[in-house]
Amino acid sequence: MSLAEQIVTDQPAEGWVTADGRQIGPVMMEMRNITLRFGGVEAIKDISFDIRQGEIRAIIGPNGAGKSSMLNVISGFYNPQEGEVWFHGQRRPRMRPYEVARQGVARTFQNIALFEGMTVLDNVMTGRLNHMKAGVFRQALWFGRAEREEIENREKVERIIDFLEIQSIRKTPVARLPYGLKKRVELARALAAEPKLLLLDEPMAGMNVEEKEDMSRFILDVNDEFGTTIALIEHDMGVVMDLSDRVVVMDYGRKIGDGTPDEVRSNQDVIDAYLGVAHD
């Protein structure tokens, strides 16, 4: 039995309620036997795992384990040589990143990719682009519908800006913001798309303790309040164990563990990988 089948059969298909009362739904996205190569290097080796509706799913692992590559496969920035991606019970064909985004998968980047020349508000507004219908000509001529759309979307964006407590920098050009706030603006832009699945690539990298606490709180609130499914990569083990419902552990492109934080913590392979037992 392959690992993927095992996961599906081991756990109730319709989901379950965790010990602390969190609702985990059915499988939303499934990676089946993904292999990704760059030339001769295998960044991801035959990995399968799933992401369930409403959960916070973490991908952890030492440097170079292939975590970011995995996130890039999910968001369509990389296309794996082997394996299948299933989304909402359908096999996803080869897609370009913007097509994946239009399916409701939003993401942030490890090295912040914001539109530096634009204001915070404009940056967050770009997240709404796929919710705006008026075509080029209508836009160009500024007919009523385009205007109404702009106003509606603006309201949604303002709510997100309030939610993430960045009202005071709404009109500030992003280039002038400190690192921690940029991370938050990037999260706001991803949220503005009202994604079904939110991918966060090291949302707390380079932050101090206080900023990390803020970001953790925001991630939990987002999951709570909007019911957004979240998959995140993070180095800080403490943060990961506190936040996530289930954890995938990667090392050298392979999956070495998968389960609740407690299960993963007691997994000997995971302990070895983190404590640095020699690989053969």
Binding site: Y98, R107, A113, L114, G117, M125, T126, L129, A140
Partner: protein, 328 residues
């Protein structure tokens, strides 16, 4: 007021009007450069091509007629219709959009991620290809273009200034129209880019490709859109220049005048293109008027380039361009 001063004022005004036309060409460069980082050497040829196509469609000229006649021994030249200017302009607009699509599909899609110099070389190739294409399609003769824009001296300005100063200013109606149209175009483009969905997507692509993809923007679509807008701007520039001095192949050389305009204005600034165009326009006319007689005239040929050179030495990012600061 002394005559000399009045005459200088007239020269100044005429310079402004000429500057508007430079600005129009420069604007096309800026649009494409901002969104895709491509310095489009073919922008001037696009203006020429647009003007040629416009005349051809208006006059009902059969495209490739020389080629067809040479191959099949036929004698076809005209469809025998005359289209109204508005219809012809719309059709030419369609041609320019098709051209934008083809250019992206056939050339720039395959060059994504290449060095800027390679993209630049591709546009040089494109420029010569389009010049040849225009020649084969519509013929190399100088054509008259008249889309119904008023031409000739503006009598009202002439009279008013004559009554006020005893000296009538010679301002061409066409120049006034060019100024108005350019102003409308710039305002429309600004509103479009600042407040519309596609405009926002366009600025996003100009800023960061990866981030743009992550919010669901198709780079290809935006590039076709930008090249279409640049094609449209080229069409407007082609109409103005074509009406003023006939549609001829030297039109593509005005692209070179846009270069100093860009040096002044900065490659990434729309207001910069406008102000740069006006400065070059006024500068070269006034310089010719004031200094020209001392050095034997013909300063208009080189003034713009010398000015650009000075800018390159002292303010390489131009008046409005983004300052490039290298972090070490």
């Amino acid at each position: 007021m002394p005559d000399q001063l009045l005459f200088a004022m007239e020269v100044f005004l005429n310079g402004l009007m000429a500057g508007v036309l430079y600005a129009l060409v420069a604007l096309g460069f800026v649009l494409i450069f901002k969104a895709s980082g491509i310095f489009n050497y073919a922008q001037g040829v696009m203006a020429l091509f647009a003007a040629l196509t416009l005349v051809g469609i208006m006059e009902g000229q059969v495209p490739f007629s020389h080629l067809i006649n040479a191959v099949f021994g036929t004698e076809i030249h005209h469809f025998g219709w005359h289209l109204p200017a508005v219809a012809a302009i719309l059709l030419t607009g369609v041609v320019m959009v098709a051209l934008a699509w083809a250019v992206n599909k056939l050339i720039f899609r395959h060059l994504v991620g290449q060095e800027p110099i390679i993209l630049f070389m591709a546009t040089i190739g494109l420029a010569y290809f389009m010049e040849g294409l225009g020649d084969i399609m519509w013929g190399a003769d100088i054509k008259k273009l008249d889309v119904g824009l008023p031409q000739g001296i503006n009598a009202w300005i002439d009279e008013t200034t004559f009554n006020a100063f005893g000296y009538g200013f010679f301002i061409d109606n066409l120049d006034i129209w060019a100024t108005v149209i350019a102003a409308v175009l710039v305002i429309a483009l600004t509103i479009f880019s600042q407040y519309s969905k596609q405009g926002r997507a366009l600025r996003a692509v100009a800023d960061d490709h990866q981030a743009a993809l992550s919010v669901g923007i198709s780079l290809n679509f935006i590039w076709v859109l930008v090249w279409s807008i640049a094609g449209f701007v080229a069409l407007v520039a082609g109409i103005m220049w074509g009406t003023k001095s006939g549609v001829q192949f030297s039109l593509s050389l005005i692209a070179l005048k846009a270069l100093p305009v860009l040096m002044l204005g900065g490659f990434t600034s729309i207001p910069g293109a406008i102000v740069g165009g006006l400065i070059i326009g006024v500068g070269e006319k006034l310089f010719e008027f004031l200094v020209g007689p001392l050095v034997g005239g013909a300063t208009e040929n080189w003034f713009a380039y010398v000015l650009a050179l000075l800018f390159l030495v002292f303010r390489p990012q131009g008046l409005f361009g983004e300052r490039i600061i290298e972090r070490v």
